[in-house]
Subunit: 119 residues, 2 copies
DNA sequence: GCGCCTAGTATACATAAGGGTACTGCACAC
DNA sequence: GTGTGCAGTACCCTTATGTATACTAGGCGC
């Protein structure tokens, strides 16, 4: 990494402009973001369905991380103006391009669970 | 993911026992951990050299994340009893097995930087 | 024998990120 | 009119991370 891009106005990663790993981490740096992307890989999903698929996440956090992913162009948010409200989240092209990263995580985790099962 | 492993005593990931992605995230969930592993991939490295290679990290954080990675069996810590002190960090076999994950992140980041350069 | 060097460790304090729960407004079922 | 589902928002609290400083122990210059 070059030492020139040491700017990080909003707490983003120093060096995300030039360091590939930091650039990727600047997108995936939320606790739930990789899991959200992982759950959206098969196809679009509504808010509460996503919440059910991600045990442990709170509404507040899920909203916040979805908004961040939307701002980064990873997730698309489609609002149907009906009652009850219907909001559909899906991966953008850029989001789908993260598939190999999530897949690598999945493969490593599968191997870990197989070799070192817990309780 | 099954709903049974909802235990997470110390703030670890719910479901890390059975969900592969969560299992991987339970190891990589620190802001600097992926970068530390990335920097250690080429070979062993001393503390201050690591610090120099990771602009933006503080001594305190680097120490803490190295200890966490050590506890997870990702990083080996070798202390030479000399003056001045000499401590060498390196990846364990388990740590090296994370190479594909870091590589996927690197590739994605490279592509991003190429397609969407910043300033 | 005093101050400065290395390679860290330890402490204190501030801010950022994560988390829990209650609450909204509207429609539908009962 | 009570309960349920949807897609959030508001409020408050706990971890995680960031910053700064002081400390270890021996060796070196003077």
């Amino acid at each position: 990494m070059s030492a020139e891009d040491t700017d990080t106005p909003g707490g983003a990663f120093i060096g995300y402009k030039t360091c590939p790993v930091r650039r990727t981490l600047s997108i995936l740096n939320g606790k739930w973001k990789p899991l959200i992307i992982y759950e959206l890989l098969p196809g679009p999903c509504r808010f509460n369905e996503l919440k059910r698929r991600l045990p442990g996440v709170s509404q507040r956090l899920l909203t916040a991380q979805l908004r961040a992913l939307e701002a980064d162009g990873i997730v698309d948010r489609k609002v149907m103006e009906v009652v009850p409200p219907h909001v559909e989240y899906s991966l953008s092209e850029k989001g789908r391009s993260l598939h190999p990263v999530l897949q690598a995580m999945e493969i490593w985790g599968e191997n870990e669970i197989k070799n070192y099962p817990i309780s």
